[in-house]
């Protein structure tokens, strides 16, 4: 299927670039992990800008 009616080129993308796709997935999980750690850290757990502040406060009560 061509993209937006553009000309198709017989270029292999998925086959040579699989390490980059795998690395992207790993980075995605690392960033998600870093975000989770940041959100739950001492400094930002009670910050009013933290959208998870209410949830963290609720969880710490249990």
């Amino acid at each position: 299927m061509s993209f937006l009616g553009l000309r198709k080129w017989p270029t292999p993308v998925a086959k040579p670039l699989w390490p980059f796709i795998a690395a992207g997935t790993i980075t995605y999980f690392l960033v998600a992990k870093a975000q989770d750690m940041g959100v739950k850290s001492e400094a930002y757990a009670k910050d009013p800008r933290n959208p998870y502040a209410a949830q963290i406060a609720k969880e710490s009560h249990h």
Binding site: T11, P12, L17, A23, G24, T27, L30, P51, Y52, Q55
Partner: protein, 257 residues
Amino acid sequence: MFGNQQYNIINSPLEQFEVTSLLGLNAPILGYLNISLTNLALYSLLVLFIIVSLHYMANNDTKLVPSKWSIALESVFASINSMVREQLGKELYLPFIYSLFFFILIANLTGNIPYSFTITTSIMVSIGLSFTILIAVTILGLSIHKLHFFSYFVPSGTPLALVPLLVLIELVSYLARAFSLGIRLFANMVAGHTLMKILATFLYQMFSGSLIVAVLTLIPFTLFLAIMGLELAVSFIQAYVFVILTCSYIKDAIELH
């Protein structure tokens, strides 16, 4: 009151790099759902839209005479193609390098529009990119050379006594790439944009003074315009440096020194 207004105008020069939520949805469903459209997300979508529309606009292969847009795009393609061919000897990784170049270039250039957000000034974006590249290059090297990949950390002709020290140095320098690549882009963009904001604040103050001062301010203003030109050049140079280093890292993984 006037002083208060001025206080509102002069913000910290670093405030432009703050990621803020523009639209948010918080709902206690699926555990706890928080979906927000931040300025980073908005400008990422904008960059995607600009890249796609640029390529759509420059696509006129049905016509015999190319438009100015397609000539420009084709020359950019030709330069990246020749760079990839020179470094890697084949075009296998051209789609990735080309996309990477356009992503960073358009992201840097949209950031030069006053009051806009530059996504490459986000440490998550730039370090995320460089991390992805380092991990990918390591996977690529391991998949091609298997365990022989680790010979990369021992330069040929090393005396046996020096091997432990050199392996350590090589390993650190290899892992430092994950940060150096991203920090180079991030620091250049942050420094440039901070400088522009500081200078623009000074110029605003001087222009809003008396008439003579405002006229005299035109001299530093021309310098400011030159710095803006430099900033545009930096946008191109950083995108180019990023992809050329990515190419050389891929080359290192394929050829092992």
